[in-house]
């Protein structure tokens, strides 16, 4: 069912079932495996129990945040420092969430509130790509988020259990899986000169900002600046 402004609460349509979501979530499932396994191993080495790791992955569901937290725990950082740092790193979720909001207008607030727990970079990118052509449904988002979340919980927990038996997963090229997925999603978002321009800006700024300030906020800041410049240029072109 193509995008239709008059449609109301849509739980399932042919292209928007949970199954579609689960299917589209497969690259994420694959990408999370090496990340999750590695995290499990590191977290267990830091002294976290299987239960704590499971709880982290279940309740937080953030690779970057979890990695940083464990790293800081390992060096004995105070609670407040860990919470502030992870808050800053994950502040980009505000941006992702805001840009996803227009697509979920027709979904009831309680459903959106429930689904929002599963919005990671990857779930966001896959969902957004789907919404270019199809109306957002609760079922679809749930499918993508569920597949991803399960993969994350399982791989982090298994990583913790298996410890160092795993050896080097790099030989399967799995360490490139997530980047490959993001490349695909990025390319699908670029369909004219403006988007190409903003993409170029975003990429360059992300590197430059990191190079100059070494901040983990580089993605957030780069995105804000390039989106703003993009709108500025678009407005300027429309006026002239």
């Amino acid at each position: 069912m193509k995008r239709n402004e008059n449609t109301e609460l849509i739980l399932f349509t042919k292209e928007n079932t949970i199954t579609e979501g689960l299917k589209d979530g497969t690259p994420i499932v694959i990408g999370y495996i090496p990340l999750g396994l590695a995290f499990g191993v590191i977290a267990a080495n830091t002294g976290l129990t299987i239960w704590q790791i499971f709880l982290m992955s279940l309740l937080i569901f953030s690779g970057s945040g979890q990695y940083i937290a464990v790293g800081m725990l390992a060096v004995g950082a105070p609670i407040i420092a860990i919470i502030i740092t992870t808050t800053l790193i994950n502040s980009r979720y505000l941006l992702l969430s805001a840009s996803l909001a227009p697509y979920v207008k027709k979904l009831p607030a309680w459903m959106v509130a429930f689904l929002s727990h599963g919005i990671t970079d990857e779930v966001y990118a896959v969902s957004l790509n789907h919404f270019k052509e199809y109306s957002a449904t609760g079922g679809y988002i749930f499918g993508v988020a569920l597949a991803s979340h399960l993969s994350w919980i399982l791989s982090t927990t298994i990583g913790a259990l298996m410890g160092n038996f795993l050896g080097d997963v790099k030989k399967f090229g799995i360490n490139f899986a997530l980047t490959a997925m993001f490349i695909s999603l990025l390319v699908m978002q670029i369909n004219n000169k403006m988007t190409l321009f903003v993409a170029f800006l975003g990429g360059v700024l992300a590197i430059v900002i990191y190079g100059v300030w070494g901040t983990k906020l580089n993605i957030l800041i780069a995105a804000i600046i390039s989106a703003t410049i993009g709108v500025g240029v678009k407005q300027w072109l429309q006026r002239s």
Binding site: T26, P27, L48, Q52, M56, I60, F61, A69, L73, I79, I82, I83, N90, R92, S97, A98, S99, A101, P102, Y103, K105, A109, V112, A113, S116, H117, D121, Y124, L128, K170, K171, G173, I174, N175, F176, A177, T179, A180, M181, F182, I183, S184, L186, V187, M188, I190, T195, A199, G202, G203, A206, I207, Y210, N218, I219, I224, A227, T228, G230, V231
Partner: protein, 106 residues
């Protein structure tokens, strides 16, 4: 240590959830001005480009701007296939296969 970890987990979980939930729920219930909508439409491509650039050029917390960057080598065929096929699965396979090959050759 156990209670410290529990507090951190719960604190992070709460903040993360609020960051994800509030804009999604609140901003989808109000009408945003057109310029904000325009801005939000640029956000995905900007964020994705930043993430990709970081994945290729800052793979392990160090900037690698050289032709020896194996992530760059894996990215080139990956981008080509992504552009040509616009298919997630093919892109993933090409990307991973290229990286596996490079790791094998190393």
């Amino acid at each position: 240590m156990a209670s410290k970890i529990l507090i951190i987990i719960l604190g992070m979980a709460l903040i993360n959830y609020l960051f994800r939930m509030l804009p999604l729920v609140v901003l989808s219930r109000i009408d945003l001005p057109e310029i904000i909508m325009d801005w939000l439409h640029f956000v995905p491509v900007a964020v994705l480009a930043a993430i990709v650039a970081q994945g290729i050029f800052i793979p392990e917390n160090n900037i690698i701007l050289s032709w020896k960057n194996i992530y760059l080598w894996s990215a080139i065929p990956c981008i080509a296939i992504a552009w040509k096929t616009k298919n997630l699965t093919y892109t993933l396979i090409v990307g991973m296969a290229t990286m596996a090959l490079i790791e094998y050759i190393k």
